[in-house]
């Protein structure tokens, strides 16, 4: 299953709803394009909703880190919402769970940007 991405604005925050797999090739490329596009539009507060992302490989992890760094470099913030168990486990064993701000509730996540 390839990756699909839509985004919606919630005040200053843009919520990106992702579904599918973030893997080498189209999935990683779409995530990169989405984040870079938001930054080009000066949308620097980004919440990635990963509720429907059931698979990420090392390429996808790299793209998440790349996006996180790109957003931070523009004084923005990129946070994660609704991790599936597999994705959470992957971020934990790679120690990235402590790098990203991760939320299980969208309202709480949105308020954290203020």
């Amino acid at each position: 299953m390839s990756l699909h991405a839509t985004h919606r604005d919630a005040g200053q925050v843009t919520v990106v709803d992702l579904s599918g797999r973030i893997t080498l090739g189209d999935g990683s490329a779409l995530l990169r394009k989405t984040i870079r596009g938001l930054l080009d539009d000066q949308r620097k507060m980004i919440l990635l909703n990963l509720a429907d992302v059931d698979y990420i490989d090392s390429s996808g992890i790299g793209e998440l880190v790349s996006g996180f760094t790109a957003v931070k470099n523009q004084s923005g913030d990129l946070k994660l919402l609704h991790l599936t168990k597999k994705v959470r486990d992957l971020l934990q064993i790679t120690k990235l769970y402590t790098v990203f701000d991760v939320f299980t509730d969208e309202g709480t996540a949105l308020r954290s940007f203020r």
Binding site: T23, L24, G25, D57, S58, S59, I61, G62, E63, V65, S66, F68, T69, K85, K86, D89, L90, I93, T94, K95, L96, V99
Partner: protein, 161 residues
Amino acid sequence: MASDTKHLEITLDTQVDSVNLAEEMCLRVAEAAGFGEDDCYRIGMSVREGVINAFHYGNQERPDKKIYLAVDLTADKMIIHVLDEGAGFILADVPDPLAEENLLSTSGRGIFLMRAFMDEFDVISGRNGGAEIVMSKKLPTPGSTSPNGQGGRNAKPRQEA
């Protein structure tokens, strides 16, 4: 090779689609061998990472080079070989992705994930000078599978040597 070993091999082009093809092929073998959902996920991910490593680092994404994938199913384990046509590498030279200075690196986690998800993992010099990844997972015994992530044999990664 023991007579009861089942052997399967395929030559893959150096392209992104080969990663998915290799994963799907090995997943089918793993499922047929009786691995549970979690172990299939770990095996599939490890095969992906092995082929990504061959595609990107070994063959430098050069379409004139090939990737060789082989699977041996013995009486007690599934062994996977991924061979590239690159210059080879020394496992001990691979940076630790968990080191503080590497946490925000955008690459370099593939080897770590294979080591974490498989029972045995090694990199040897291949017959053509490239790198050959050899990794295996013990076949499940009745009652030993963990279908829903309740701590398979390798829930925690092994430390780098």
